[in-house]
Amino acid sequence: MRDLHLSLNQTQRVRLQAALDQLESDASSTAAAAASVTVADTIPVNHEDNILKGHGTSDLDGQVVATLCGVVERVNKLVYVRALRSRYKPEVGDIIVGRVIEVAPKRWRLEINFSQDAVLMLSSMNLPDGIQRRRTAVDELNMRSIFIENDVICAEVRGFQHDGSLHLQARSQKYGKLEKGQLLTVPPYLIKRRKQHFHHLEQYDVDLILGCNGFVWVGQHVDTTTKESTLLSDEPSDKEETNNAVPPETRRNICRIANAIRLLSVIGLTLSVESVTETVEESVRANVEINEMLSAEFYVQTVEREAQRRASLVRKRR
């Protein structure tokens, strides 16, 4: 994600520094701060137990020393350091959004912001006619009618291949090609695993898909129950363009939500449906124009709001 270089004037700089200091002081008062380490810090360990040294640790003169900057995690006898910023670490069952880069025999290869490309087998994908049957050679020749290069697809991680690359499946109605929207790239560590990654924001008529790999899709709402019929119909492309044009009000909402996501990712706050909708509502309340959401003033206001929210949470806990 590119950085926003904002020209802050003096008062904005002062306000931003004050808000960041408040966030830092709130963070340091929690227990997590006590467990954070940097490279070459000694990890406090009871030497009598047989401690298993996990990822991010190393043995130096009998001491357990961290080799990463992160937080120390302990699970029974295992001690490891979890890095705060890292590449996407896939797990089975993750919802991801990817882009097709190659149509290969019986599979599609997708780019998913990971060290290797993911593979979506033809057999892991529903056929357009919806019948459960064995894939024939004709199906293989017609793969291009389902997905073509550069298509944006939503899928789920089915497992890992022997070389570490991912195996995906898109067998449910809610997975598949994504259209009428925009794809954003954010750092993957800002998206935590939750129960729900598909969000239908009714008041805006917008679908928001937070892929665990850092690809976020914001687009017009597509009713998944009627999805199958659109795959079957063979409309020519220009007719589709005029029939299915995105209405202006929905487009404004899509742009507003996309800018909120861009802003939150630049600040470094965790992305979730609540934080995104709160930012959007705040921008509407403050009458901020859509393109002004990425300006210095709203940036500083958002950081201040987050500092206040965390301060009130800390106060409630006490």
Partner: protein, 285 residues
């Protein structure tokens, strides 16, 4: 640059039609611009300009040289653009050469005027010290660090900012006894002459996507363009240069319309750029 799916392309084109682009801008809005001056201390003048994710650095070095025989009363200016591989992997080695040449030629056409030096943004006669013998040679070098569309506009803005940051050292010239002798020059380290950049134009590129044209296209929007017209406008609203790229043909009335839109947009852009440059110079001190 990653490709775009058919659905994303339609969304992009629809947005441009409805005057609401992907980041909420209208067709005539520039991305927020940020200027830093004096980034290269060894150069006589330098500036870094960021237009969204596009980042370019311009530097100006002045050296003493001999004016050409055809124009003994004018100094020399040469512009060279280099596309760094950090902007895109294809620019490594010779890959970026075609784009660099195209950008250099377009900038020279807009900023340097005709063969006789008439109409140049920089007054070449102000660069001459001793007619026929000693003049300043200005070497303007620009580097494209990161590319997200609209390189020409950001390069012209960087050159304008770098020129306003340029200080030419004061030179004491001692003429030789006979007219054929080379005069002695004493370059002062203390005193500097600032450039007057009020006549330097900016470039506004209008990218035609479908039936509409947009200002300051990102690289995704540029991938959907049919043609692009870059107009160089100065503060008085006069056109200093015109370049058209892209394969599609344009009706002459469309060109007229694009030029008038560029004139209108450039006035606001010039004022924003001037205020950013002034702020950058003030913070540098």
């Amino acid at each position: 640059m990653v490709g775009l799916s058919e659905g994303e392309k339609q969304f992009l084109r629809g947005g441009i039609e409805q005057n609401l682009r992907a980041d909420g801008r209208t067709r005539n809005q520039f991305r927020p611009i940020s200027v830093e001056t004096g980034v290269i201390p060894q150069a006589n003048g330098s500036a870094r300009v960021r237009l969204g994710a596009t980042e370019v650095i311009a530097s100006i070095k002045a050296e003493l040289g001999k004016p050409s025989i055809l124009h003994p009363d004018k100094g020399k200016v040469s512009i060279f653009v280099d596309c760094s591989p950090t902007a895109a992997p294809i620019y490594e080695g010779k890959g970026g050469e075609a784009l660099s040449m195209e950008l250099s030629v377009a900038l020279e056409r807009c900023l340097l005027g005709g063969k006789s030096g008439a109409g140049a943004a920089i007054d070449l006669s102000s660069l001459v010290l001793v007619e026929g013998k000693v003049c300043w040679d200005l070497y303007i070098d620009a580097l494209v660090v990161s590319s997200d569309g609209n390189l020409l506009d950001s390069l012209a803005a960087a050159i304008k900012a770098a020129l306003s940051n340029t200080g030419l050292p004061k030179v004491n010239v001692v003429l030789g006894a006979s007219p054929e002798e080379q005069p002695e020059v004493d370059v002062s380290d203390e005193e500097f002459l600032q450039f007057d950049t009020s006549a330097v134009p900016v470039i506004v590129t209008l990218t035609k996507v479908g039936k509409q044209y947009i200002v300051d296209a990102t690289s995704e929007e540029e991938s959907q363009m049919t043609s692009a017209v870059s107009v160089s406008v100065n503060r008085n609203g006069q056109i200093c240069g015109l370049t058209k790229r892209g394969g599609a043909g344009l009706d002459p009335s469309v060109i007229y319309d694009m030029v008038s839109v560029a004139k209108y947009v450039s006035q606001q852009f010039i004022s924003v750029l001037d205020s950013e440059v002034a702020a950058a110079e003030a913070s540098e001190e």
